[in-house]
């Protein structure tokens, strides 16, 4: 009796171990496929171009050349760009989180007339390519007298339907027991939002923050880098457009 049980156990153990090995193999292969292009790019950036496109590819550069990076630093006033881009990006990210979390909570949990219509209206903003709206946006900013300022970059970015949608879906997965209990305590919507949804929604908010920071940083930092200006004015909006 005990012999067959042991055998069955051993077989089950083997199956599970095989499963583990296969799973780990798949994960390793996938992460390799994902990381290799990036490793190649980094290794290329540390070499002279003339040494970079050999076949078979040399993954580890034989002589490191940080000069490429130094050249970039010398080419443009890096420090200033970083500070400006950081300021603008952080403002955008912070503003987006506040606005989206509030709106997301309302769409996820509050009942009000026109909820669905307004939500779809907001989503419709995602359905237009950026450069279609960027010109009239620029005209509006000019008319508001915000030309040439950081606000010109920050303000249009504060409304983020993507952020609202993301956080709404996230908030929808939070169980209702908590707010039911809070409501019974007499808590109003703001309390519930602040004390329940914001803390529990922290992972979603973190994701939004990372993605937002990333995309705006790429946009602002990259566009700064690629344009040269000699008058030293901070004509950001144009740089944005001409990118």
């Amino acid at each position: 009796m005990s012999a067959t049980i042991d055998e069955a156990d051993r077989r089950a153990l083997r199956v599970r171990r095989l499963q583990t090995i296969i799973t780990l193999a798949v994960l390793s292969v996938m992460s390799l496929l994902v990381l290799l292009p990036i490793v190649w790019t980094i290794s290329t950036s540390l070499r002279l171009p003339k040494d970079s496109f050999t076949l078979p590819p040399r993954w580890i550069p034989t002589e490191l050349r940080a000069q490429n990076y130094i050249d970039v630093f010398n080419l443009v006033p890096f420090g200033q760009f970083i500070l400006n881009s950081l300021k603008v990006t952080l403002s955008v990210v912070f503003g987006q989180i506040v606005l989206s979390a509030m709106a997301a909570y309302a769409f996820a949990r509050l009942r009000f007339p026109g909820r669905n219509v307004l939500f779809l209206l907001l989503m419709s903003a995602l359905m237009v390519p950026l450069f279609v709206t960027i010109i009239p946006q620029f005209v509006i900013i000019k008319n508001l007298g915000l030309n040439d300022t950081h606000e010109a970059l920050i303000l249009p970015a504060l409304c983020t339907p993507f952020g609202v949608f993301l956080l709404r879906q996230f908030f929808l997965t939070i169980p209702t027991d908590l707010e039911d209990a809070a409501k019974i305590d007499g808590a109003g919507p703001w309390r519930i939002f602040w004390h329940i949804f914001v803390p529990l929604g922290a992972p979603g908010i973190a994701v939004l923050a990372i993605l937002s920071f990333n995309s705006y940083w790429n946009e602002f930092f990259g566009s700064d880098m690629r344009l040269s200006r000699t008058s030293g004015r901070k004509d950001r909006r144009e740089q944005d457009i001409t990118n």
Binding site: L48, P49, K50, D51, S52, F53, T54, L55, L75, V76, K87, L90, S91, F94, V98, F131, I134, I135, F138, V139, K142, T149, H150, E151, P175, D177, L178, A181, W194, H195, I196, V198, P199, L200, M225, R226, L227, S228, R229, T230, S231, R233, E238, I241, T242, N243
Partner: protein
């Protein structure tokens, strides 16, 4: 502690979280408010609004910043009442540059002076976006004589439209062949003579490819300038029929009275209809197609960045380019001995295609006179020389181009070759660039691409191209 109980645990963490969050929030809000106020205050007292700003838009990359600074300083010294702003708009192609410029225009931004290339001249001139310079030049003959003496007539003609001159050539480039001297030596190929033929070219490419499976004889980009068109030209043909606009005689009489190449030129180049399906063009495209699919000496068409990389890595022996490629090769780590430049190989003729660009004054500018002063400033020999230093581009001024200082460190060994492509071959002409240039380029690149991916024969590709181009050109007024 029961982790399932959300109440107790959450309440605690949220309490501390709130205070932290609240703190952050107020700090951020405070900073934002300070910045807003700070900004406004600075603006009100800067007094910058009193000087006029001359905005010059150039096709440029960030590494031109120092050059712009240098150019700007010289101008401001002579014209202190004007604030100059150079804007270098990057782009891989001219039409990318124009797209960005038109975005700027659409948002109501002001541009006074703009670099316009062959690819956009007829479009902007026909839409009256830029203004002719005829009167100003006629009133300033003594100043300009020196310039015209230094610039070949073909370049000037390319910047004329419908009898008027719109800008003074500032940059240009013929498509000539760059070759990798090391690879040629390894393959036992003699340095090409100036009158080498298309068969010599093919033989060289084949010899190099024998060096290795991943070493190719020739690479080229499928684009408007430097793609199929150089080969069409050496077949003494063109994609569009080339004729002339009337007018402009005053220019040739005044500034090029004894110049043989200038004889017969008039008011600009005109491309009224397509001749894409000409048998000579089919032969040219077939040749390129065979290089990739039959002879296997050429890889799939790539862009200039990739070509420069492959070339400098010793994977590619030849490519078509002009002086801008030198800057890239040196930057990639090559030395002046690693490459050399030779004419396009001779087929029926050896005429070269080129593109050129210059600075045009916009029609809507309020600072036309100052813009004109800037044109005069920028076209001075020393400024044009500074602009192309380091192999950044080719200068329309013969004196700059052939100046040994420009080629001492970086080569090529025969720096006059870019000029000679015009001087020795009077038939050399600009790439065809009619007013609907974007549509022309899109159609052109599309069908060449289909031929190069072997999905269409050269004949079918050009027949289809011809049909579409005819429709596009039929919509042009005049």
């Amino acid at each position: 502690m029961n982790t399932q109980d959300p109440f107790s645990k959450k309440k605690e963490s949220s309490k501390t979280a709130i205070s932290r969050r609240q703190f952050l929030k107020w700090t951020a809000a405070g900073t934002a408010a300070a910045t807003l106020l700070g900004n406004k205050v600075v603006r009100a007292t800067s007094g910058r609004q009193t000087t006029q700003t001359l905005r010059v838009v150039l096709f440029g990359a960030p590494d031109r910043a120092k050059t712009f600074e240098y150019l700007g300083k010289g101008f401001q010294a002579a014209n202190p009442a004007i604030n100059v702003e150079f804007l270098g708009v990057p782009g891989a192609e001219w039409d990318e540059f124009f797209s960005k410029v038109s975005t700027m225009l659409a948002s109501g931004q002001n541009i006074d002076l703009i670099e316009v290339g062959t690819e956009g001249l007829q479009l902007f001139a026909s839409k009256k976006f830029i203004q002719p310079l005829d009167e100003r030049i006629q009133a300033d003959k003594t100043f300009w004589q020196e310039y015209f003496d230094d610039v070949p007539p073909q370049l000037v003609e390319a910047m004329m439209y419908d009898g008027k001159l719109y800008n003074m050539p500032f940059l240009w480039g013929p498509a000539v062949i760059f070759y990798n001297t090391k690879l040629f030596k390894q393959a036992g190929v003699q340095p090409p003579k100036p009158d080498w033929t298309k068969d010599d070219f093919l033989a060289a490419a084949q010899a190099v490819h024998k060096l290795g499976d991943d070493i190719y004889g020739f690479g080229w980009p499928n684009r408007h300038w430097g793609g199929l068109i150089p080969w069409v030209f050496v077949q003494d043909s063109n994609i569009l029929k080339q004729t002339q606009f009337e007018g402009g005689d005053w220019l040739w009489k005044t500034f090029y009275p004894d110049n043989k190449t200038a004889q017969g030129r008039k008011g600009g180049v005109h491309w009224p209809e397509s001749m894409a399906n000409d048998p000579r063009n089919i032969e040219a495209l077939q040749f390129l197609q065979d290089l990739t699919w039959k002879e296997k000496v050429a890889p799939a068409p790539a862009d200039f960045g990739q070509l420069a990389n492959f070339f400098s890595n010793g994977k590619l022996a030849m490519l078509p380019a002009h002086r801008f490629m030198i800057g890239r090769l040196i930057g990639a780590g090559m030395t002046r001995d690693d490459y050399d430049v030779v004419f396009m190989p001779k087929w029926t003729t050896q005429r070269h295609q080129f593109g050129t660009s210059g600075l045009a004054i916009t029609t809507n500018t309020k600072l036309a006179d100052q813009a004109y002063e800037m044109v005069k400033h920028l076209t001075r020999k020393e400024n044009m020389g500074a602009y192309v230093k380091g192999g950044v581009h080719t200068s329309p001024r013969r004196s700059v181009n052939n100046d040994p200082e420009q080629s001492k460190a970086i080569g090529p060994n025969n720096p006059t070759i870019f000029y000679d492509a015009l001087d020795k071959f009077p038939g050399s002409a600009p790439i065809p660039a009619p007013p609907p240039n974007k549509d022309f380029t899109a159609t052109f690149v599309k069908y060449v691409g289909l031929a190069m991916s072997n999905e269409l024969s050269a004949k079918d590709a050009l027949e289809n191209m011809h049909k579409e181009l005819s429709v596009i050109l039929s919509k042009v007024k005049k």
